[in-house]
């Protein structure tokens, strides 16, 4: 029995190519049935995400199965020039394990891919498209992914400005439910951060922008309240997180102004995320007790640090993966006549 893998991903194909080959949930059953009809192919799993379209199959006649897969893709897309990579047993197994661990992802160590692979396998199993060999292969892939996550730092930290900000909010407040956020300047990044915070349970979002309509529109879309820009400080009571991204040429939040506002803030911490360039918040604000100020540079530095940590962990991950690949291939050799 041979394990085959063929596919395209974000590295070898642009998005317009990937979208032509993508297989949606509604097409999955029909596609799996077509693959099952290929001569010499005993089982198949299709992993189709925004960054990859990959076919995993088991076969005793790899060349015939590959020809059949190629025919299937040409019929489906009408494209004769297939930019697909293809591997046989050892590299296929290794590739799947790397994908499940997030090592083949655009952001190394991201964990969403594992859920997507699990979903793809479970859909194939539900449609009766897997066999003993593929079942064992995917179970082993999930095991290695779990081990890599727990034994290495490949998922450590956040890798984007938005997720770093949300993670820091968690390190200041713990549970974010019931917290109040104020957004000064309705920019794209501040909107993204505000949305992430809302998804983590933030209670109230107040939006203030020089153009009131823009503030109202953003407040509307995230279930918040809009206030006029001239009155933002009057709505500051009980605000826990302040996100700034105005286009003001000078700091709009100064130490003097903030100290006056914080008199009614009692001892609650205040987390300020300054996404504006030039900065909206005077850096000396960070010296006030209980106030934590992060600007673009500091958020990006933390994100970079996480990426570096993840990159240094890749070698350890590969070693773990190699061990599991050997285990799986040994199992395959020990079961040459497994049920199809």
């Amino acid at each position: 029995m041979t394990i085959l893998c063929a596919g395209i991903n974000h590295r070898n194909a642009a998005v317009e190519v990937r979208e032509r080959f993508a297989i949606g949930t509604h097409e999955l059953e029909a596609s799996l049935s077509s693959l099952r009809r290929i001569d010499g192919l005993f089982g198949a799993v299709i992993v189709s995400t925004c960054n990859r379209v990959e076919f995993y199959a088991s076969s005793v006649c790899p060349l015939r199965a590959m020809d059949g897969l190629r025919r299937f893709l040409v019929e489906r897309t009408g494209c004769t020039d297939l930019p697909f990579y293809s591997h046989d047993s050892l590299p296929s197994v290794r590739h799947l394990f790397r994908v499940a661990c997030g090592l083949d992802s655009m952001v190394i160590g991201e964990t969403e891919i594992l859920g997507q692979v699990k979903q793809a396998y479970s859909a194939a199993a539900d449609h009766g498209a897997t066999n003993a060999c593929l079942n064992k292969l995917f179970q082993q892939a999930f095991r290695v992914a779990k081990q890599v996550r727990t034994e290495t730092r490949i998922t450590r930290g956040s890798t984007s400005v938005g997720s770093v900000a949300v993670e820091l909010a968690g390190k200041i407040f713990g549970d974010l439910s019931g917290r109040k956020v104020m957004v000064l300047g309705a920019g794209e990044t501040s909107e993204r951060v505000a949305r992430s915070l809302v998804s983590r349970g933030v209670r109230t979002v107040i939006v203030s922008n020089r153009t009131f309509d823009r503030a109202a529109a953003l407040a509307d879309s995230i279930g918040g309240l809009a206030v006029h820009f001239d009155h933002w400080h009057t709505a500051f009571d009980e605000v826990d997180i302040l996100i700034c991204s105005t286009a003001a040429p000078h700091p709009i939040v100064t130490r003097e102004k903030l100290e006056k506002i914080l008199q009614s803030h009692r001892e609650r911490p205040l987390f300020i995320i300054d996404l504006a360039v030039p900065r909206d918040v005077d850096p000396s604000v960070n010296t006030i007790d209980n106030v934590y100020l992060y600007d673009m540079d500091s958020l990006e530095q933390i994100a970079r640090q996480s990426i570096e940590i993840r990159q240094t962990e890749v070698v350890r991950c590969e070693q773990l993966i190699d061990r599991h690949v050997r285990d799986f291939l040994t199992w395959m050799h020990q079961h040459p006549t497994m049920p199809r």
Binding site: L168, E267, D289, N290, S298, Q301, I302
Partner: protein, 261 residues
């Protein structure tokens, strides 16, 4: 036997501490099970040792500085298990075990008499007072540790550099709450302990009385300022560490005055 129990407890903590150091040097600061296991082992051995000393003395073993240090180490570990499970503060054990180890090493390395003092006629109220006072000091020790963790996390957040400590220490708000509540818990226990002392009608050396009263008043003011006045969590954390330092310095003196009496 007692020697082996104490040595075993100390070795447990040293092993846990060494393991933590190795993990930290490898860039891993996640709370490990080894540290918890070492604390559980040390606590069990220390409990057995104190029980045996109590059997010989036919009373709670609190009559020498050696006993007091052991009992305070035991009380700190006990409160860690109670508070640690209630607050689930990551790394609290990592910060607590060095303090417990310090108290054990101090008891064993300082030139202190280890001989149990057999009981003559002893007042249960006085024993209750002494035991409860040391448990209160254990709560203050843990409050100081929570305060130290708060200051470390505050520094990490102010530095804006990220890093393993930042990710592994608990949220700063939770540390501030734990710090305040542990001070309050210690103060309540100490108040009950002092009430028991008054009920017993025990004779107290003036200096010991005023030292103990200073500790009680200091923590009382801290709680009052935190509850009524908005004393910032950072200042509370610093003051709880200062107060803990005061206790650790004056405890031997108080014990010396008690035995001298």
């Amino acid at each position: 036997m007692e020697f082996y129990l104490l040595t075993g407890a100390t070795l447990c903590l040293i092993a846990g501490f060494a393991h933590t150091l190795v993990r930290v040097s490898a860039g891993k600061i996640q709370p490990g099970r080894v540290n918890l296991a070492s604390m559980v082992g040390a606590f069990a051995l220390l409990s057995l040792d104190l029980w045996m000393r109590g059997q010989v003395q036919r009373s709670c073993p609190l009559y020498s500085l050696f006993d007091v240090l052991l009992f305070m180490a035991w009380a700190t570990a006990l409160l860690y298990f109670l508070v640690g499970s209630a607050y689930r503060l990551s790394l609290l054990g990592t910060f607590t075990s060095p303090l417990v180890l310090f108290l054990l090493l101090l008891a064993q390395l300082a030139p202190l008499s280890r001989d149990p003092i057999p009981a003559t006629a002893r007042d249960p109220w006085i024993e209750f007072h002494a035991a409860l006072s040391l448990i209160a000091y254990g709560a203050f020790a843990l409050a100081g540790i929570a305060g130290l963790m708060f200051l470390v996390q505050d520094r990490q957040l102010k530095k804006r550099k990220g890093g393993s400590l930042l990710y592994n220490l608990p949220p700063i708000t939770e540390l501030a709450i734990a710090n305040t509540r542990l001070i309050l818990l210690g103060l309540i226990i100490l108040t009950v302990a002092f009430a028991a002392g008054f009920l017993s009608g025990m004779q107290v050396n003036t200096l010991k009385f005023w030292t103990s009263a200073t500790i009680w008043v200091a923590y009382g003011i801290l709680v009052l300022l935190r509850q009524i006045h908005p004393l910032a969590p950072r200042k509370t954390a610093i003051l709880s560490l200062v107060a803990l330092g005061f206790i650790l310095v004056t405890l031997p003196a108080i014990q010396h005055l008690s035995t001298a009496k």
